[in-house]
Subunit: 335 residues, 2 copies
């Protein structure tokens, strides 16, 4: 068995950048995606780090994403920024939008960014965290191809649709980073079990008739179980309304899959809210949040959302990241 | 057994108004609360309709809420409205804020309302629905005294903290009304089982050691189970950050109980976002939302959040509401 090579975050970003460019992505689009890839590896979210690069490259090649797209920004209202991702990657579209969102939120107290004709934005919390690092309270929504059936139904209508909230600590850092999907488990976990021929816990997914199943292959033909039953469906519906209806993006039920090469661009959406916490709280935000985080940490064994990623990031910044040799081989095959 | 008398919605509002005034509430504060009480009865949410009026009256009497408070509005930023409820009822504070929030959201594309030094706002979806009736997409958050323990802990830190999203249908109505707490079940259900001496399902609550319990009395000394485990805690945390930290209100862990007469004003908070959907969606919002609702309704047995309340409201507008005689007796005792 080959030992996992240790790579620095700069090396990971550089490798991701070169690979994306080799596949036909423009410099301007490859850079934000490469940065996000390194940050995702740093946070230990292996599924969306370098392991995703071959999929991105494949999607550039087959036209599911336009690697040379130029996102277009508009200002439909003073507090609202809108970006048409033009079927390109989500990351450069979001980055373009943030350039206007951040100063607008500071000036007006809050602002929103709507992104349409977009693509899988990777780890949603990567984007909200960037806003929180600017001192803004951020909430993000992104929709995905339908995989959750509403309670009482069997046919998927909503995606695993995550939301994320990132709260600044008042000192240039991030105190809380919530980033959670509406399903019990990520779809990638079920796909992994299918590849490995392993059964899944019965609470993860439903068969095409709407009954629990332990067979990952049957689960992939059925639907993902919503977390907490109808309340998980409610969260998925909130996210769908924000990320698709509020942006004019494609509904998850009409979107092409994020995996595989078929169906053309998914044209899904992202929606971000950025709020200046000192305006609405009369300057009390940082103190209240610190007290809340302290109450949570006061009990042994309790982790605050974001703690795990922060610890992983600090380790990775010091020591680099051990990258799976099989992943590296697949990435290098594109160079 | 006495037959339940049928009351019109106007009669319910009038009774609630006179009762609140008799207990010492000012005219200006009693009216919005009475209107909400009638609307809540209309939607079939019996626990927060006339049945709550004796608690409101008791709280005015003991000083847990200041029935004569005058909420104070300020504009800390162009997109942000702030209201200090001055330990009065939440309803007049929210109503005052909405008068500025609605035109500001229309003018700027979006705006926020932060309410602090507030009280239990009743049914959160009542307030978000009012914004949606004005053609705005509304998201609301309100915090409550701590009753949910974080995963891995035993001591409650977060309230059952609901969020609500109300989406306008583009024709003066409301297409979707999500209104859900972060717990598996409402605390009032556990209190009801305790009063009736009935056991509760083991997935509703935890004992003080953090283990599932079927004894409602022990559950009330322990904590409420979060819906979907750590994801329910994540929702409760999002709501706490928005309703308390972002408003400068009191954290649930420091708030006095909403029931009983002890502890003085809870000083909890509410936060509302109001967005003009046509700005961010380029005019596509109503069409996308209608298509989404149709996809959900396309499966027999599937209800869209808000369907039940809408049907109840239509029935109540035509036929009035059958009011529990015991509730009426308790309300009339204050006149």
């Amino acid at each position: 068995m080959t030992e996992a090579p240790i790579m620095t975050l700069d090396e990971i970003e550089d490798l991701a950048y070169r690979t994306l460019v080799a596949a036909g992505t423009s410099d301007a689009n490859a850079r934000p995606l490469a940065r996000a890839t390194a940050a995702t590896e740093a946070e230990g979210i292996v599924s969306h780090g370098l392991a995703y690069i071959p999929t991105y490259c494949e999607h550039v090649r087959c036209g599911k994403v336009d690697g040379r797209a130029q996102p277009v920004l508009s200002r439909p209202a003073p507090s609202v920024v809108s970006v048409d991702a033009a079927t390109g990657f989500a990351h450069p579209a979001i980055e373009l939008g943030f350039e206007v969102l951040i100063p607008t939120a500071r000036e007006l107290g809050m602002a929103a960014l709507a992104v349409r004709n977009s693509y899988n934005c990777g780890v949603l919390g990567y984007h909200t965290r960037r806003l929180a690092m600017e001192g803004l309270l951020a909430i993000g929504f992104t929709n995905a191809p339908a995989s959750i059936a509403p309670v009482g139904g069997r046919r998927p209508v909503l995606g695993t649709n995550p939301f994320s909230l990132a709260a600044p600590d008042g000192a240039g850092g991030v105190a809380v980073l919530i980033d959670q999907s509406a399903s019990v488990i990520a779809k990638s976990e079920i796909m992994k079990h299918a590849r490995e021929g392993l059964p899944i816990p019965s609470e993860w997914a439903l068969d095409p008739e709407g009954h629990p199943t332990t067979d990952p292959e049957i689960a992939l033909k059925g639907s993902m179980a919503p977390s907490g039953g109808y309340k998980g469906v409610g969260v998925a519906l909130m996210v769908e309304i924000m990320a698709a209806a509020m942006t004019g993006a494609t509904l998850g039920v009409n979107a092409s899959p994020f995996s595989g090469t078929k169906g053309g661009p998914p044209r899904t959406g992202q929606f971000f809210l950025a709020l200046a916490p000192d305006a609405s709280s009369g300057g009390l935000f940082a103190g209240r949040l610190a007290a809340l985080v302290e109450e949570l940490h006061d009990q042994p064994g309790v982790r605050v959302p974001g703690d795990g990623r922060r610890a992983a990031r600090r380790r990775a910044e010091r020591r680099g990241v051990a990258v799976n040799p099989a992943t590296l081989e697949k990435v290098n095959a594109w160079l």
